[in-house]
Structures are given as C-alpha cells and as structure tokens.
C-alpha cells in the first residue's frame, strides 16, 4: 500500500527515469545493430574468423558489467565523460554485440544451400543474393538476437545507475542505500514491465517480418 502510494506520487519521476533508460538501451542497441549485423554477415565468409569473433564475444559476456564500468571510468575521463550517459551506452553496446552477431551469423549460415545455389545460378550477384534472399529469410532469427540484446541491456543499464547514468536503476540503488523498500520495489517492477513490453513488441515485429512462405515457428495459426 505504501509502495503504491509512492508510485502514484512519483509517476512523473518514474516516467523520466524510464525515458533515460530507454534512451540508453535504444542508442546502444541501435549502434549494436549497425555494427553487429554487418559483422555477423561478414564472418559467414570464413569459419576461422567466425570462431574467433564469437569466442571473443563470449569472453566479453563474462565480464561483470560493474567491472566494465570501472574500466571505462579512467579511459573516458580523458574526455571528461568518465561517468554518466556515455559509458552506460558504450557498455550496453558491448553486451549487445554477441547476441546480435551470433544470431545473424547462425541465421545466414542456415539458409538452405540449395536456395543459395539457385540464387547464384539464376544470375544474382552476391549483394543481390544477400538483399533478396539471405537477409529476408534470416530476418526473424536476427530479430530474435536483437530481442535478447535488448533484454540484457535493460539489465545492464539498471547497474549503470551506480555511475550516474540515471535510468530506472536509480530507484534500486537509492532503495538499497536508504533501505527504502518502496523505491526498491518500484524500480524492480518498472524494469520488469519495461523488459516484458520491449520483448513483446519485438516479438510482434519478428512475426511480422517472418517471410510468409518460411516454415513457421509457432508464430501464425
């Protein structure tokens, strides 16, 4: 009851924190798509390069986000941005890379070789084949990777409250330091709802962009 009152009295603040959160996640995932998708496509050309890139990506994923923020502080301090929005975006972007690269790589690799052979045999150049056949068929799996990246990033960005990036994590960090259960629950609840909302809207997008003639993944009746 107390928590509910707190939420109702702080709706504008919650909205503002949510916007901060979304801006960090949105920019980070946006950049990660622009870099990760081309990289994921590029590494389909060489098994060895692909193995290396995916291995490095997996190592990055094992770094705790709080440690990554720590590493970024001295580096970004040189341009006066040691804490705040920029390191939060950079860290989130780093964590978004692996799911996007890996899903893009797997999706393109799994396009039926017969389709690739047919496309090439009919006179498509490599870029035409990519744009008209491979990417449209791979798109649902690529978007599934983006969904994973978004959910991971919502979590990473919550931690970024500790380096002064704002966002919904602020409620949690304050709730802990002030032993205020109301703020703690508000932050956790808002984060959960945000994650679910983002995941579902991307799932909707994923289904919409699934080629109509492709095998269904339980997406349409």
């Amino acid at each position: 009851m107390e928590t509910l009152t707190f939420i109702l009295h702080n709706l504008p603040a919650i909205g503002e924190r949510t916007l901060e959160h979304v801006s960090i996640v949105g920019v980070a995932v946006g950049i990660a798509i622009l870099t990760g998708v081309p990289l994921g496509i590029a590494i389909t050309q060489s098994q060895r390069v692909a193995d290396t890139v995916l291995y490095l990506g997996s190592i990055v994923m094992t770094i705790p986000s709080i440690a990554l923020f720590g590493v970024l502080i001295p580096i970004l301090s040189k341009i006066g941005q040691g804490i705040g929005w920029l390191p939060a975006v950079i860290a989130a972007m780093v964590y978004a890379q692996l799911p996007i690269i890996r899903n893009t790589y797997t999706a393109i690799r799994n396009v039926d070789p017969a389709l690739r052979s047919a496309a090439t045999g009919m006179g498509m150049s490599a870029p035409q084949r990519l744009a008209r056949v491979e990417i449209p068929i791979a798109l649902p799996v690529i978007i599934a990777g983006i969904r994973i990246a978004v959910v991971i990033n919502i979590g990473v960005t919550a931690i970024a409250a500790y380096i002064g990036a704002g966002g919904l994590g602020t409620f949690i960090s304050r709730g802990i330091s002030q032993t205020d259960i109301r703020q703690l629950i508000t932050g956790a609840l808002a984060l959960g709802l945000l994650a679910i909302a983002c995941d579902y809207s991307l799932l909707w997008l994923q289904r919409r962009l699934t080629p109509k003639g492709a095998p269904k993944r339980g997406s349409r009746p």
């Binding site: 389709l115 496309a119 006179g123 003639g213």
Partner: protein, 322 residues
C-alpha cells in the same frame, strides 16, 4: 549450340588430386535435349554446373552459341541460362509471381511485364494464374512447386536450360505427368536443354541424345535408340539394363515400320488396332495379348491406313539405330 571441349575439373583431396570430370567433350545442337546420365558421383552434375560457372573448370572450354563462356561475366552469363535444381529452390520469402519474376527483375523488366510473363507461364504449365500467382511456396504441392521451378527457369526466355535432376524428388505418377508436359512444351519452345538424370527410363524418354558418364569420363554419347541397341561397353550395357530391347520399343513409332495400304484385311472392324503415332510397346503388348502376327493401323477417323507385322518389328530392332 553448346560445345564442351576437353572439359576437366580436378579437386584436391587428402589422397591427391581427383578428376571429378575428366576431358569431357560433347556438342548439343540448338533445340536438342541432351541427358547427362550416370550413377551418383560420376561427374554429371559437376559438368552441368561448369556450364553456368557455378563450378569453375580446371581446364577445357565451353562455348554457347559460339561464345566462349570464359569471356563472359558469370553473373551476366547465368541470366541467359535457365536453371532448375532437384530441391526446386523456390525462395520462401517470395510469392509464386515474384519467384518467376526473379531473373526478369534482374534484367530490369517492369513489374507489369513480369506479372504478365508469370501469368503466361503458369497458363502454359496448366496452373490457374488467378489461383497460384500470389501463393507462397509452402502452399504448393511437390508437383506444383516443381512446375513453378521450371516456369522460373523459362521466365526470361533463355535459349539454354540446365536441369539438375529436376523431377527426381517427385513420385512416379507425378513425374510422368510433368515429364509429358515438359516434352509437349519443349516441342514448341525448342530450348537447348542439358538434363542431369540417374534414371535410364527418364533419359530414354526425354533425350534426343544421352551422354553416359562413369567416374568423370564420358563413356558414350549417342541417341537413345543407338545407345540401347549398341551399348559401347559392359558398363553402359549394365546401366541401361538387360531389358534394353523392351526400352527401345517405346522409342519407335508405328509409322516408322508401317506398311502403308488398306488391303490388309477386314479385322479393323472388331479386333485391336494401333495408330501411326503409337509406340512399339503397345504393338508388342497387343501381339502378345491377342497372339497376333499383324495389326491394322488406323487413322483418327478409324480408316485403315496400313499394317504392322511381327517380322517388321523384329527387323527394325535388328537394324539398330536409325
């Protein structure tokens, strides 16, 4: 005309270089269907894929209509060659109309012209355009999908068609139907067709000439009747089968051995008859079924135009190739 000249493809393997295709030379005249026949791994598909440069030859030359394919940009070359594969390879993200329009679109046709062409091809393949144009490949049966595959290869009206076991995945009944349909179309279209198959019956049915392969080498290149009558060696003889004489019967038409004239006998009234376009399989069947030595030939109106005898059938089989 397609000409292969000492075409060779060598693959390096752990046990040294292996020639998948070994100095194959052959010529296919314009409008002819040549079936590349042989057991799996004999180099027939590799040979086909060298023609549209999906496989780059190690040595040798391919000319199409006098033009060395080496001198042409592979992407441009492929747009002038229709290509059908066994797995069909329809793009699941495109409708039937879009699939058929792939090469026309690459060639810069307008959307309206592509659509018209797709309608025309579907009608030619006895598929109702209104019903099929906007379907997706997963809404088609195997036989329908394979027809669309053929339509797609014909879309830009290429003079040359490469078909890699195009009907191999179909059930026997469907395969017969689509083979007949293709033969009918080919009679008017007169494409130069190279057709890979491992099925001797299909080869005999479809081919003007059969090129039979073994371990990368061309063993015999001949018209089906010649190949069945005179297999070049034991391998060809065993591949075409011990019933090769029976297979030949379907290649020979009654008109080829018919004795013209109406003065045979009056049995046309009741007994079995054949038409000049029937093949000798039917004649032989009737001979055996009714224990006959001679059959009257009738025209479509039922008038007796000649007769065919057991002795003439035997004589024709004995002469070998026409």
């Amino acid at each position: 005309m397609i000409r292969l000249d000492a075409l060779t493809k060598v693959y390096p393997t752990a046990n040294g270089a292996v020639a998948a295709v070994d100095r194959v030379s052959l010529e296919v005249a314009d409008g002819e269907t040549c079936v590349l026949l042989g057991p799996s791994g004999c180099g027939k598909t590799t040979t086909l894929r060298m023609i549209n440069r999906l496989v780059v030859p190690t040595s040798g030359k391919i000319t199409i209509g006098g033009r060395d394919t080496d001198a042409v940009d592979p992407v441009e070359l492929r747009r002038t060659i229709g290509y059908v594969i066994q797995q069909i390879g329809l793009f699941p993200n495109m409708t039937v109309a879009e699939n058929i329009g792939v090469v026309p679109r690459l060639l810069g046709w307008t959307a309206e012209r592509r659509r018209r062409r797709a309608e025309e091809l579907l009608a030619m393949l006895a598929l109702d355009p209104a019903q099929f144009l906007d379907r997706y490949p997963n809404e088609l049966s195997g036989g329908q999908a394979q027809r669309i595959g053929v339509a797609r290869a014909l879309a830009a009206d290429p003079p040359v068609l490469l078909m890699d076991e195009p009907f191999g995945a179909l059930d026997p009944v469907n395969r017969e139907v689509i083979q007949d349909q293709f033969l009918r179309m080919q009679r008017t279209l007169r494409k130069t067709v190279l057709f890979v198959s491992h099925d001797i019956d299909e080869a005999v049915k479809m081919a003007d000439r059969i090129a039979i392969f073994r371990a990368g080498r061309l063993v015999q290149f001949a018209a089906p009747d010649t190949m069945l009558a005179h297999p070049a060696d034991d391998f060809v003889a065993s591949f075409v089968g011990t019933d090769r004489t029976l297979k030949r019967l379907r290649l020979i038409r009654v008109r080829e051995i018919m004795l013209p004239g109406v003065a045979c006998d009056a049995r046309a009234g009741g007994g079995p008859t054949v038409t000049p376009d029937d093949d000798l399989r039917r004649v032989a069947t009737l001979f055996l079924e009714h224990d006959l030595d001679t059959l009257p030939c009738v025209d479509p109106d039922g008038n007796v135009v000649g007769r065919v005898t057991r002795a003439d059938v035997a004589a024709r089989l004995a002469t070998g190739a026409a």
